[in-house]
Symmetry: C2
Subunit: 428 residues, 2 copies
């Protein structure tokens, strides 16, 4: 057996503490499986005096994370978070010093991944971030390894457990968004400042990383079209269910005609599709490859132990001296492709129109779609409380975003229109 | 870029031809992703004169597979199949000559995996078999890599597409086993001699390999308790559905108190469980780890292109010079643990008893369970056509196999009993 792999952990929060705990509890099987033991020699914490659940005997504690880049450290594990500041400075310094880096920092990788990969390559060191996407789900290893023979056609994922928990709870308990969010905050499933999760930013970070691996491009977070779940109503969840769909916040990436379309938004997913069945705080990623077809991986997307499982899998690959570029391709080969305009997106749509319950309303609506050559799959009128008029639910056949946008704009301006139309994309 | 990895393919059937085709179609991305091109220098076929869909220009064709172990070959890809004969001879000769071996041969690995791993280790060469379990699903890489930090608690899988197709079709089309099997044979989804699939042998092979990876033991196919799906009736599929379950053929492995329990049998799975939703010819594997929790991977379990995707992923790992032992642990560290007796298995059970529709029948049945300390969760009597008596459906709380066996034996011997009881295990 070779010499131990010596690691330093920056940040002993939930994930850092779980990493230390599992490295201790499962030390024997980890060493047997990768042929070396993994030894924590140092850690950095904001408050060295704080009492912790995990034993830190024999671990050097530093107040300054940058001090972890030390001669007796082979790998720096960055668990501080944030796309700039100390996290970025630490990762850059560690790579430049020829240390391997393992990180769970999706913001850092989504924003600076390509530059950091080039830095790692220059020093012939490893930059690994399995824990940055979908927690314990080994999706990055799968894309870099098990699915690497495939030309990837599409990646789609439920990548944020908070959003999926809120949507699942709204549906199950028949409650409104604001109420469920408030409860989730009380229970610790959502942050006090929830916008990072519920506006889709966190999903966008993870999607940009997955798209990079899938299509051989540099992560391009700025190009992600991003809509969150704030405006979703129980009404639409119910109507969607009555038509055989569940509403999920998905991150989706496709490469078509040399342009990359990355989008994060709520979608109607057919009830029988694998992603529709993913409940609560679970995450799942669906990869469509030209050889393998559809592969779906589901598991815990967050939580200390699950994320630590991913961190340690990266450490074990380093211990075995697996050689791979951070984004599979050499940094110099990562392409920069133009973002596709959402207007050219092809797909089916769900629309809910609130209109006056008057003769001719349906005809006006049908005409607006016909004028844009949008083919309607079903159109259903449901009368609600008298003063709120009628709800018209339209499911279209495949069409494009621009045509829908024009039709909706036209309908919203009609005298029959009583409220802003709700438009949701349907994803197979 | 390093020198090409030179491979020889033994067998150009469905998987072999697809492997050659994908290596050609996706040559550029494969080379970019693993830093080397992969070049087929030779192949062996039974009939060198046969016309094939795939171009074989520049590929040396041999009638004798053993001739593929040649100086210009780095990796032998064994796609002949069978646990003995030419497949085994070829793999042994290739390993002994210091060649890497990639195989899709589950029978060979399940029967001789540990001995072959020791041979590979002796020559410091790689023996890889991602394609042997669940086709295109990268489950072996996940267990060896992405989930390797975990102490695995349980592996459960739908590992045979033919069985899952038959069960799904029985349920969906409300038809009997024999009829659906006959149709599946006509459509090519089942073999003319189907026993290898429907009696669970194929699932057992794959399970033994998964159990080896999960628990660090040598594959022990002889110890797998194996029941197939021949005796499953639509009646039980219907009753199961009415209680919230679907029936699936699962392979399941657990290690408890130092004993390994490996079993293949039809199970009732709760309708909301991920494995219940896996339809048609798809496969799925659920791994429960102490850190990561439950991870489920679903995808195509068979078919030329999907299986070739797995074969090529192994080739790419060899091209990158990833270093791992075939079963993760060094061959000398693979343990031989005693098989657990099925009698000690703990779980819930579904029983269907056909009894005379007479006063006291339910009391007799209830008494038989009470005598074995089996706690009943629900007991439901449904009267059927007069001459066939009543059907009593019992769902038990967790109990053990021995208690159930005794209770059933007692009930079968009662004067009220009209037919052999049906007993199915319920899996969470």
């Amino acid at each position: 057996m070779s010499a131990p792999l010596r690691i330093a952990i920056a940040g002993l929060g939930t994930v850092g503490a779980a990493t230390a705990q599992i490295l201790r509890d499962n030390a024997a099987i980890i060493a047997a499986r990768c042929g070396r033991s993994i030894e924590i020699v140092a850690a950095s914490v904001r408050d060295p005096g704080k009492k912790r659940a995990v034993t830190l005997d024999g671990i050097r504690l530093e107040a300054d994370a940058l001090a972890l880049v030390a001669p007796d450290v082979d790998v720096v594990v960055e668990l501080i978070g944030g796309q700039e500041g100390i996290a970025r400075a630490l990762v850059e310094r560690a790579l430049d010093a020829g240390k391997h880096v393992v990180t769970a920092n999706k913001a850092l990788i989504a924003h600076h991944g390509a530059a950091l990969a080039a830095r790692a390559e220059q020093q012939q060191t490893t930059l690994a971030f399995e824990a940055a996407v979908a927690g314990g789900i080994p999706i990055i290893a799968a894309m870099r390894g098990g699915l690497a023979a495939n030309r990837i056609q599409r990646v789609a994922g439920i990548l944020n457990g908070t959003c999926n928990y809120i949507l699942t709870t709204m549906e199950r308990e028949r409650r409104d968004f604001a109420e469920v969010l408030a409860d989730a905050q009380k229970l610790g499933y959502a942050e006090a400042e929830p916008s990072f999760d519920i506006d889709g930013t966190d999903t966008a970070h993870k999607l940009a990383i997955l798209a990079s691996l899938a299509f051989g491009v540099a992560p391009d977070i700025a190009a992600v079209h991003c809509e969150g779940i704030r405006r979703l109503s129980l009404t639409d969840i119910d109507y969607a269910a009555s038509f055989g769909y569940r509403i999920k916040l998905l991150g989706l990436a496709t490469l078509e005609d040399g342009a990359l379309l990355q989008r994060v938004h709520p979608c109607l997913v057919p009830i029988a599709a694998p992603l529709a069945a993913v409940d609560g705080a679970f995450n799942a990623v669906q990869v469509d490859g030209d050889a393998v077809g559809r592969v779906v991986i589901e598991g815990a997307g967050a939580g200390g132990a699950a994320t630590a499982s991913a961190v340690i899998s990266d450490l074990m690959a380093i211990a075995r001296e697996d050689r791979y570029a951070p984004f599979t391709l050499a940094a110099s080969q990562l392409q920069t492709v133009p973002p596709a305009a959402l207007a050219v997106h092809q797909g089916c749509y769900y629309l809910r129109l609130t209109v006056k319950d008057a003769p001719g309303a349906l005809a006006d609506i049908a005409h607006a779609f016909a004028a844009q050559h949008v083919s309607v799959h079903s159109i259903t009128q449901r009368t609600t409380e008298a003063d709120r008029g009628a709800q018209v639910i339209v499911i279209t056949h495949a069409t494009n975003e621009a045509a829908i946008a024009h039709a909706v704009q036209h309908i919203a301006a009609l005298p029959i229109s009583l409220a802003a139309p709700v438009v949701l994309r349907i994803e197979p």
